[in-house]
């Protein structure tokens, strides 16, 4: 969608009368009040016409000409949801820790959220612009928006939307990743005011959308979205325990593939939240288990961390930062061949091909200038895969699900004192929040 189009839409909304376009004339009241002549004149009616230049009336968006804008907008919403998700999953999954009190990072870090919107942690309440890490709102919006666009694209013909297949691939990929992340983080899910479903259902829907994305991407020649959807499929299958299928899903991803989401300092919704929370706002620091990542005695360059040698004023937790994200503009990798390689390694190990798994690990080590890993012990190799995923995919949204999938012990353990009072909790998934449960007619 070009700028002219959005300008045109804004002009239309500016001239629109927000309360609607057809309504009862004042004449009814005028007759009652015996002031018909005064009230009936158009001038009075026009007095109720007001401007709304900052709003885009929803019905103006029901136009095929808006398809490009809307699909780009879906991507924009997912971009925001993803960087927030990386922080939430990082805090729960001990990649990050809270270094000051007062924000909702405390509840994520302490694993003590409940389903309310305020005092119980705001995974249900925070949104893209929030200073707090958000989860449910941005993911729900990007999922709904993506599916909504897929539905509209089904209704609109090629003549109305010339690049329909290209847009379909994109919308389906964003839908797939939205379902995927909800499946990884929630305890249960609900979509479109529908009934409660399992996280396995969410992951199944993610795979469904990725398949649609792959078909449309192949058809429209978009290799980036094709490979993105392949890796998304592999990730979802891995989560479902279908390791071999996951390996197959990502087998064709080229070694140079990487798909990054762009961010910028433009506004709160476009910020790289990892940099913002860790270095700009100093709400979160790096988790203790990531402060000294080494392989064979060699510091792992994939987890670049620095001890700032201080605490945030007023609090006692040491502040560690990471240079992996060094500005509000820093992109975040959504998917890439290293993830595919680790999925394939896990599949190879499950398929009794440990040497293939080791080989894939060492390809990653070569890229990171780390010594080769050598082992034929399947348990050791599995431990190394877990380590590789921690290092290679550090602060890229994976460790929360890995923690659950590999049944890793929580760190710090539940019941240990929490630096900001109370004890660490044991929650690792987010229940449907009250806002969903109380307002969705199909939930009890």
């Amino acid at each position: 969608m070009d700028q002219n189009r959005i300008d045109d839409l804004k002009r239309r909304s500016k001239n629109a009368r927000p309360r609607g376009f057809s309504r009862s004339p004042l004449a009814v009241g005028v007759a009652l009040l015996s002031l018909g002549a005064l009230a009936g004149c158009d001038a009075l009616d026009q007095l109720l016409e007001v401007e709304a230049p900052s709003r885009v009336i929803a019905r103006d968006m029901e136009d095929p000409a808006a398809a490009q804008l809307l699909v780009e907008s879906v991507g924009n919403e997912f971009r925001c949801a993803f960087t927030h998700y990386v922080n939430v999953s990082g805090l729960v999954g001990w990649e990050l820790r809270s270094v000051q009190n007062g924000g909702t990072q405390v509840f994520y870090d302490g694993r003590t959220w409940t389903t309310g919107g305020y005092g119980s942690g705001s995974y249900a309440g925070a949104d893209c612009e929030s200073g707090n890490a958000a989860l449910y709102l941005p993911l729900s919006r990007s999922r709904w928006f993506a599916d909504e666009m897929l539905g509209r694209l089904d209704e609109w013909g090629e003549a109305q939307v010339p690049n329909k297949t290209e847009l379909e691939a994109r919308a389906a990929a964003w839908a797939g990743y939205s379902y995927l992340l909800m499946g990884e983080s929630m305890c249960s899910v609900a979509f479109d005011n529908g009934p409660e479903q399992s996280v396995e259902d969410a992951l199944g829907l993610a795979i469904d959308r990725f398949q649609r994305a792959m078909a449309a991407a192949e058809s429209s020649g978009q290799s980036d979205f094709l490979n993105l959807a392949r890796i998304g499929t592999g990730r979802a299958l891995l989560n479902l325990g279908q390791v071999a299928d996951a390996g197959n899903a990502v087998a064709d991803v080229p070694e140079d593939f990487t798909f990054e989401l762009e961010y910028s300092a433009l506004n709160d919704a476009t910020h790289n939240r990892q940099y913002r929370s860790n270095q700009r706002d100093e709400n979160v620091g790096i988790g203790e288990r990531y402060l000294d990542m080494t392989f064979d005695g060699v510091p792992d360059p994939r987890v670049p961390v620095t001890d700032e040698g201080r605490t945030v004023a007023g609090y006692g937790v040491p502040l560690w930062t990471t240079s992996k994200y060094s500005s509000l503009d820093a992109p975040v990798r959504l998917a890439g061949w290293p993830e595919a390689a680790l999925i394939m390694a896990e599949a190879a190990l499950a398929d009794n091909r440990p040497e293939d798994a080791v080989s894939l690990i060492n390809e990653l080590h070569d890229r990171a200038d780390l010594p080769d890993f050598e082992s034929s012990d399947e348990e050791e190799i599995m431990d190394q895969i877990v380590y590789e995923r921690r290092a290679e995919l550090f602060l890229e949204s994976h460790h929360l699900m890995d923690m659950k999938r590999y049944d890793l012990p929580l760190h710090p353990a539940p019941g240990e004192p929490f630096p900001f009072g109370g004890l660490y909790g044991s929650s690792t998934c987010f229940p449907l929040p009250d806002t969903e449960r109380f307002n969705n007619p199909n939930l009890s």
Partner: protein
């Protein structure tokens, strides 16, 4: 339109008028002269009719209350004084030829003022005796003596049913004003504001979003010096003719206008004094921690510790106020022109206010049937308020200090010492305002009158949050991002216009029955233009503009809301003592949903002056009026609430995108409040006692509830729906008594009490609506009530750790706190509020006035306690668990992830609010400086707390509660960052020439 430009011009015009108006006319010879003053306040009564009975000799008092009667025949004469609103008086005296006799009068306010005209929305106003509801009236002249520096303080404690809560002691910060409780669950519940018949901006806003601790209210742009009176129209039964927006009541400010046939009178006054925080060491908690230098735990009072270092955290803030006015008039015109400047410093460098006002009011009566009134007021109001939140509030850092930080640059303060916050957190609101009205009245016959009023209210409000490129001493406490500085400027230009036509036809249907038919049309428009510019990261100290910052952002928006309303009213009178009124108003508003049409507000009321009936036989009751009214009014939804819309959101590269935002509601209409009001007004014992009693029962049906929408459905900004029902019920009592009336000593006693029982009858939702950390709208409870789990038992191990912590299960038992229900803990608004005032008058001259106000049945949310007990563990009990209540230790242990009733203390109080001592200077002293009269007053405010229940644990003050929170949003009555009310003492000189 640029309000600032208008304001500048206006100031010149007003001040120029002061210079070029003609000087006072010379007095003439007289044989009887004297002064007419109000008996309670001793303020002069202008325009009183003074006459020698049976002679035809008479005249009016001037603005100083002075009169002069000449040509009186020697001998015994009777001098009579009459003035509307006051009981008339007569004095008999003997005058001799060529002598001048002085006779002074003290008129008592006519207790019921039955013949006073009250502004009700109709063309000519209505006599109070004909109105079926109570209309409060506050005399603006009390501000000449009492310690009152803004309109909010003028309202406080002077009218039952009107709750005024400043919430923050910083000068210039707003008071939340609520009349008869909360009638809306989604709106801000602020009353509608009129000035001289024109609807004006009554918005309350913070100088910068949620980061500043105080809000500023536009009602406080007006200077009390220019106020003649304030009428308070309390509820829907009275406010029906004001229509949509009036369900929270109406405050109508009437400014001074001068008097016809009076020479110019100049009044110069100045007020000098100081603000301070009383007993600061007693208002901060003693926090515990380990002193690094001793390795031992100890308690720390930072106020005392800093004082030992020679550093007083709180200081005296100067009060300065200067005003000059002139008023008078000829046979066909009258005028009032004034200019004033006020400066108040708070107790810390980050709180102050500067306000400048100018006003020019001119009324002309070119013919007997025509009158024209023009009013223009200007104000420049600049307020700095302290910051809010952990990173912005010096006060929070003080309250949460700990010995652990003593040997650091923080000197024991939590985040940073105060001077670092003063440098970092600079929140200033700078508002320029022009309010003008023009009213034409034409009364072609004695049975028909009509008027046309145009009004314009322009406010140009600049909110600035500024952090300079911090000095190294301040920068060390914050991140590099903060230390590089930023400027956030939000400009709001609010334009409100009013068009109001009203006509009345009066006729006698028979000898006994009179009829007045009224009709009117009002058009009110409001347009808010918002512009925001943000700059972050200054390259070097001294660069302070947005344009000089490394990163800049900008945005703008326009918000409009228009209302068109019509009404018709019929009033029938029976022998001028029984009145029946019926009216209906119809409104349309641009914020109504497209499927919603007009809204109608009916009204019916009756009034019976029963004491004027022939059968009346209760001699001790001088007058008694019974009244009852039923009426409706409304509150429109917010501007965009009905629209289903996307909102723009840029992509990282700046290209456009949108996101699904507001679900909208095409059926959305206004909240409609209906009210039954009944009561009586009586005077007894020879008018020495007056008693008003009013019962009201108010229901807001179709209350707008901001219903959460399931996020799974995409558009999940709250949806506004007319599904709620909210009630307010209460009794208002006002008692005024001349307790003692001796030749040299008078004692007047006044008592105002109002009760309010607010309740959500129907929320329209299956569950509650979560508003904030602890506040909820929940059916069966008052709006925005506080809820939290309640710890009922805990045990403490020998090591001091709480275990087996159990909470109330809501059914008489106990259970694990993690699953415990959140139980009702109180509500933020008082159930009972009121005031007691006393005025002692010594001799003719010296007057001592006192006012104490109280609020009962309200609850605060003490975030300060949450931080000290649950988050930081610095409360003394946690360091001495052997002496502590185990439940406190248990709540502190669990409190981090949830709220507990320990942080929601009851906060009723009674405070010694006002004390004033005033006396006129001897006339010969005044004459030495060429003045007619002079008065000096010494007035103090917030002298001390008489009683409070806010002491379960150390906390600052029951009145400390963030007013911004109470405007909507989470409505949390939070205490952490709000400055306690400051005590003030000021000396006022008032000289009349």
């Amino acid at each position: 339109m640029d309000a600032r430009r208008f304001a500048g011009t206006g100031l010149l015009v007003a001040l120029g008028s002061l210079v070029f108006l003609p000087p006072a006319l010379s007095a003439q010879q007289a044989t009887i002269t004297g002064e007419v003053v109000e008996s309670g306040t001793r303020t002069p009564i202008a325009g009183a009719q003074v006459s020698v009975v049976g002679t035809g000799i008479g005249g009016l008092t001037n603005n100083s209350g002075r009169y002069l009667l000449t040509g009186v025949a020697p001998g015994e004469v009777t001098v009579q004084v009459q003035s509307i609103g006051y009981s008339s008086q007569e004095r008999v005296l003997t005058v001799a030829a060529d002598e001048t006799a002085e006779v002074n009068f003290q008129l008592r306010t006519e207790a019921l003022g039955l013949d006073e005209l009250v502004v009700t929305g109709t063309a000519g106003g209505q006599q109070r005796r004909a109105i079926g509801n109570v209309v409060g009236n506050i005399d603006g002249s009390v501000a000449e003596v009492a310690p009152i520096d803004n309109i909010s303080n003028l309202l406080r404690g002077r009218e039952s049913g009107v709750v005024v809560n400043q919430g923050n002691g910083s000068p210039g910060t707003a008071s939340v004003v609520r009349i008869r409780g909360q009638s809306s669950m989604s709106g801000d519940n602020q009353p509608l504001l009129y000035v001289d018949g024109v609807r004006v901006n009554n918005r309350m806003s913070t100088p910068q979003g949620g980061s500043s601790a105080g809000a500023v209210s536009r009602i406080d742009d007006f200077s009390p010096d220019e106020i003649e009176s304030v009428e308070v129209i309390k509820g829907p039964a009275a406010a029906t003719l004001y229509g949509t927006e009036a369900s929270n009541g109406v405050i109508h400010i009437i400014t001074k206008r001068g008097s016809f046939d009076q020479p110019a009178e100049w009044t110069l006054s100045t007020r000098q004094g100081a603000n301070w925080l009383h007993d600061p060491a007693g208002k901060v908690p003693i926090n515990w921690g380990i002193n690094p230098s001793t390795g031992e735990p100890e308690g720390l009072n930072l106020v005392e510790r800093e004082k030992e270092r020679g550093n007083d955290i709180f200081s005296y803030g100067r009060i300065q106020d200067y005003s000059l006015s002139v008023s008078g008039g000829s046979e066909t015109m009258r005028y009032f022109v004034s200019g004033s400047g006020q400066s108040e410093d708070g107790a810390t460098p980050d709180s102050w206010q500067k306000r400048y006002n100018a006003r020019a009011n001119v009324s002309a009566q070119p013919a007997e049937v025509i009158s024209i009134e023009a009013s223009t007021g200007f104000s420049l109001n600049e307020v700095r308020v302290p910051g809010r939140g952990a990173g912005q509030s010096a006060l929070r850092s003080l309250f949460l200090g700990s010995p652990e930080h003593l040997d650091t640059p923080r000197r024991g303060f939590w985040i940073a010492p105060p001077e670092a916050f003063y440098e970092r957190s600079q929140f200033v609101q700078d508002a320029t305002r022009m309010t003008t009205s023009l009213t034409f009245r034409y009364d072609p016959t004695d049975w028909f009158n009509h008027r046309l009023t145009f009004g314009l209210d322009l406010t140009d409000q600049k909110n600035t949050a500024f952090t300079p490129h911090l000095s190294p001493s301040a920068a060390q406490f914050w991140s590099e991002q903060v230390a590089r500085g930023s400027r956030n400027v939000r400009q709001e230009s609010v334009q409100q216009s009013s068009f109001d036509y009203a006509a009345s036809v009066s006729r006698d249907l028979s000898e006994r029955v009179s009829s007045t038919t009224s009709a009117g049309l009002q058009v009110n428009t409001k347009r808010v233009e918002l512009t925001q510019a943000i700059g972050e990261g200054f390259p070097a100290p001294g660069v302070e503009s947005v344009g000089g910052a490394a990163t800049t952002f900008g945005s703008d928006d326009v918000v409009e809301n228009n209302t068109v309303g019509l009404y018709v009213q019929e009033q029938l009178g029976w022998e001028n003592r029984i009145f029946l009124t019926a009216a209906v108003r119809a409104d349309d508003n641009s914020a109504f949903g497209e499927e919603f049409s007009l809204v109608y507000y009916p009204k019916v009321s009756g009034s019976w002056v029963i004491s004027e009936e022939d059968f009346w036989g209760l001699d001790f009751v001088s007058s008694l009026r019974l009244r009852a009214a039923y009426g409706e009014s409304g509150q429109q939804p917010d501007v965009f609430d009905a629209i289903r819309s996307f909102s723009p959101r840029a992509q990282p590269d700046g290209s456009p995108a949108v996101f699904p935002d507001a679900p909208g509601n095409p059926d959305l209409g206004p909240e409609q409040s209906r009210e039954i009001e009944a009561g009586f007004d009586a005077t007894m014992f020879g008018d020495r006692v007056s008693l008003d009693l009013t019962f009201y029962d108010q229901v807001t049906r179709d209350a707008i509830v901001s219903r959460n929408v399931a996020p799974s459905d995409g558009f999940f900004e709250d949806q506004f729906v007319n599904i709620g029902r909210l009630s307010n019920r209460g009794v208002e009592v006002s008692l005024d008594a001349r307790t003692l009336d001796l030749p040299t000593f008078d004692w007047d006693l006044g008592v105002n009490v109002g009760t309010n029982r607010n309740r959500i009858e129907d929320l329209g939702l299956e569950s509650f609506l979560e508003l904030g950390w602890t506040t909820r709208h929940q059916e069966g409870y008052p709006a925005a009530s506080l809820f939290a789990p309640r710890v009922v038992s805990a045990e403490v191990t020998p090591a001091g750790d709480p275990v087996n912590i159990l909470c109330d299960d809501g059914q008489g038992g106990s259970m694990d706190c993690g699953d415990a229900p959140w139980l009702y803990a109180g509500h933020p608004d008082p159930s009972v509020e009121g005031s007691v005032s006393s005025t002692f008058t010594f001799g003719d001259r010296i007057q001592l006035g006192m006012l104490a106000d109280f609020k009962l049945g309200q609850t605060n949310y003490s975030t300060q306690m949450w931080w000290r007990y649950a988050a930081l563990g610095i409360a003394e009990e946690l360091w001495h668990p052997e002496t502590a209540d185990p439940r406190i230790l248990g709540a502190a242990e669990l409190g981090r992830s949830g709220e507990f009733q320990l942080w929601t203390p009851a906060s009723g109080y009674m405070r010694f609010r006002e004390v004033s001592l005033s006396a006129p200077l001897p006339t010969n002293w005044a004459e030495r400086i060429g003045a007619r009269a002079a008065r000096v007053s010494l007035a103090a405010r917030n002298l001390g707390m008489i009683w409070t229940e806010y002491f379960p644990y150390p906390a600052q003050d029951p009145e400390s509660r963030a007013p911004a929170n109470q405007l909507g949003g989470n409505r949390e009555p939070e205490d952490t960052d709000a400055t306690p009310p400051l005590t003030s003492l000021a000396l006022t000189f008032r000289i009349t020439f």
